[in-house]
Amino acid sequence: MEEFAKLLEALVYTSSRNRKLTLIARYLRETPDPDRGWAMAALTGEIDFPAVKANTFRNLMKERVDPVLWSLSRDFVGDTAETASLLWPDNPAVETNAPSLAEVVDTLSALTRKSAPAELPKLLNRLEENERFALIKFATGGMRIGVSARLAKTAFSQAFDVPVEEVEEYWHALDAPYAELFAWAADGGDPPDVMGRPMFRPFMLAHPLEDVAIDKGVDLAEYAAEWKWDGIRVQLVRVAGETRLYSRSGDDISATFPELLDVLSIDAVVDGELMVRGDVQGGETGSDKQGGAASFNALQQRLGRKTVSKKMLAEAPAFVRLYDVLLLEGADLREQTWEQRRAALEAFMPRLPDSHFDLSNLVEARDFAHLAEIREGTREDAIEGLMLKRRDAPYIAGRKVGLWYKWKRDPLLIDCVLMYAQRGSGKRSSFYSDYTFGCWDGDPDSGAELLPVGKAYSGFTDAELKKLDKLVRQTTLNRFGPVREVERTLVFEVAFDSVHTSKRHKSGLAMRFPRIHRIRWDKPVHEADRIESLRSLIRD
């Protein structure tokens, strides 16, 4: 607990991403099991003690501190955990001796809503102020210290010099305190045995393709082209009869799409676009642009639900348009080329029911000019654009240059990260409705920072505004008058007309008419675009 509290304290006062990585990595190397595993669980937000909520501590405080003094203090400090840790009476009669994190976990897990008010004070009395702060953050979750799950995992990979994609892969199959993960990474043991578990494998991702890159000699003959569908990227995993559906960030969304859980009859891991049936994207089923899918809006009605009604299942049935296969009946195909995997996928298709699966068509084009013509034609068909996949490329997690490209149609779109929010005016004056977003100034996994690139206050519905406002309030890091700096958790797909160089902005560029095209609740921030992608679009 002592060391964890020191780590949090140091993280709170560090703004540089690299310094944060160093601090966490050092902690992970120097702290024994299982404490470091519990710390990782806390930093990645994968810890939950149902009997202990922020309100539990609020109530404890109100028994000890005059309510008026409590709320004046809480208002000034701006954080319940910190206010409580500052106001908890130091008890000189009790020797402070901080328990280990493992002991804290044992104690907290054993609590019930009834026993918590009597047991928590005993724990708090053993701690000093910064340890109380750490304990309350640990117990209630939501650290809000500017450390994302991705950053924590990156620090883990740096601490033990293991690839972050492997960490990511094992992570989803293991539970806190991740004993097997540390045994492998820190102590040189065998890799965790995860084959038998229906776990998520990190996605292979695409770079935006710019016209510039075409001139620089991307040879179309080396690539296969597909439509870029406007749904959500999913991975369907079946192992030993158990099926799970994962979103782009590796979240288990099986419960949201129950109709997909008993239609995969063979053990496999497949990659595709989840959409609902309709005739908006590409027109009717079987059209020259494949067709058969509804708009993203139609799909959106089904996202984020924990249970699904029969009516919804009937009105908006989901299906997966497959474009890759990673594992098939015990064989790992990821080392094979795209062509080999495509062949395996095509051979495998007849064993899947048409009702829930189809195969993403390939798009034939003579050359880039022809392909560009085809891409221009996608606008009326509500298709986002085209994907280019290198025929001889293996399936490599992450975003490796030159292997996969996304070639979106106009308007220009870019994925940015929400950084600041400001209150609107008039009807919106109680909402944080003006958003400043940024792009990475390099590789986010090797210490790049976000630079603001633009500001937008339109392109979302009232319901979305409510959700955004709530997120801003929940993830505030700093307040500057009407502006709040938020934790980097949310990706906006920003549409804009053009981009120009600008001396007024630190990023050196300014977007024209940026608006929020879509809120990517599903997309991890490190996958947002880089400044250089935006810069390559400058047409001054």
Partner: protein, 343 residues
């Protein structure tokens, strides 16, 4: 005979002693002023007669030229030195006595007596030991007019030794960098230096130019600060492994670019709250204050035990609530222009 205490009247910009037509820490130029200490929000230039301790007058003389009209055309003040413990008779039968307040060099509480009634105006104060000034003295009175800069129960200043240890540890941990400590130029800077010396730190300490004169003034008043050097005269690399002290306002300016890899520290009572520290980009918060913390404020009111407590500035709501809970009579004066952001 007039109503009790009608001779003392709080106005938004100062406290008026009616029979003497004299003001305590007025926020605008007046003919006759009683000044508690040298901080700008209490001591302004341009008064006529200015009653203050010799140390405070010396500090004011540094800031506002005396003897001739200054560039801004302000009226030069006439220095009226009052020693600690000395009582001066003002007109209208008012006696004023200056009592140490423990805030900064020369800081005083002013005890006012008139018609058998006693009023103390504390100015700013603290109860902790401070090698650079005389400690606060508890003095009985009827009305106690106190500050409340840190008047919230979350503010408890830790022992200064702990904060010094943190600062010196950072220096040891990062011998190739330097630690830039933001500290108020009057009082805080000199206290930090004196405490560093007391903790056995004998290395030279580098100063921002704005600190120099005030440090010299402290030394002239018998506060030994050890070897001080100016950043302006130093080579960048010579400052590695050393402590640099600068006013908070200079910390994020281009001036700081001449420092070798500074770790940003700040010596302030506000550093107790993480958010405050983060807002200012502080990496090493040092909770060091020249104001009373919550426990000192409440203990002082209990010890002085006045019939009435008036609160001049700060977070008065919470202190009022505390008085109410203890059934003490209290009121907030809400004086303007008294906020110690850089405290």
């Amino acid at each position: 005979m007039s109503a009790p205490f009608s001779w003392i009247r709080p106005e938004p910009w100062g406290i008026h002693i009616v029979p003497a037509d004299c003001w305590v820490d007025p926020g605008r130029a007046v003919d006759k002023a009683l000044v508690t200490h040298g901080h700008a929000d209490h001591a302004r230039g341009g008064h006529g007669e200015t009653y203050a301790t010799p140390e405070t007058l010396a500090i004011m003389a540094l800031r506002y030229r005396t003897g001739a009209a200054d560039d801004a055309g302000e009226i030069p003040h006439k220095a009226m030195p009052v020693e600690y413990g000395e009582t001066v008779r003002l007109s209208g039968g008012v006696d004023a006595t200056y009592i140490p307040a423990g805030h900064v060099l020369g800081s005083a509480q002013v005890l006012l007596e008139h018609a058998g009634e006693r009023v103390i105006i504390t100015g700013d104060y603290k109860r902790r030991a401070d090698p650079t000034c005389k400690p606060f003295e508890v003095t009985p009175c009827d009305i106690f007019i106190t500050e409340a800069t840190f008047g919230l129960p979350v503010f408890t200043h830790p022992p200064i030794e702990d904060e010094m240890a943190k600062l010196l540890q950072a220096l040891t941990d990062h011998p190739d960098q330097c630690v830039l400590v933001g500290a108020y130029a009057l009082g805080k800077a000199q206290r930090v230096i004196a405490e560093l010396r007391a903790a056995g730190h004998t290395q030279p300490i580098y100063l921002h130019g704005a600190m120099e004169k005030m440090c010299r003034l402290y030394e002239e008043h018998g506060v030994n600060l050890g070897e001080l050097r100016l950043v302006a005269d130093a080579e960048k690399n010579d400052m590695r492994g050393h402590i640099i002290i600068a006013p908070p306002s200079a910390m994020n300016t281009t001036w700081s670019r001449r420092l070798p890899d500074p770790i940003t520290a700040m010596a302030s009572g506000w550093m107790r709250v993480r958010q405050r520290a983060r807002q200012r980009g502080v990496e090493l918060p040092l909770v060091i204050s020249d104001h009373a913390d919550w426990n000192e404020l409440t203990r002082t009111i209990e010890e002085v035990d006045p019939t009435e407590t008036w609160i001049t500035h700060g977070r008065e709501e919470a202190l009022l609530r505390w008085c109410e809970l203890g059934q003490r009579k209290a009121r907030a004066l809400a004086l303007v222009g008294r906020e110690d952001e850089d405290e």
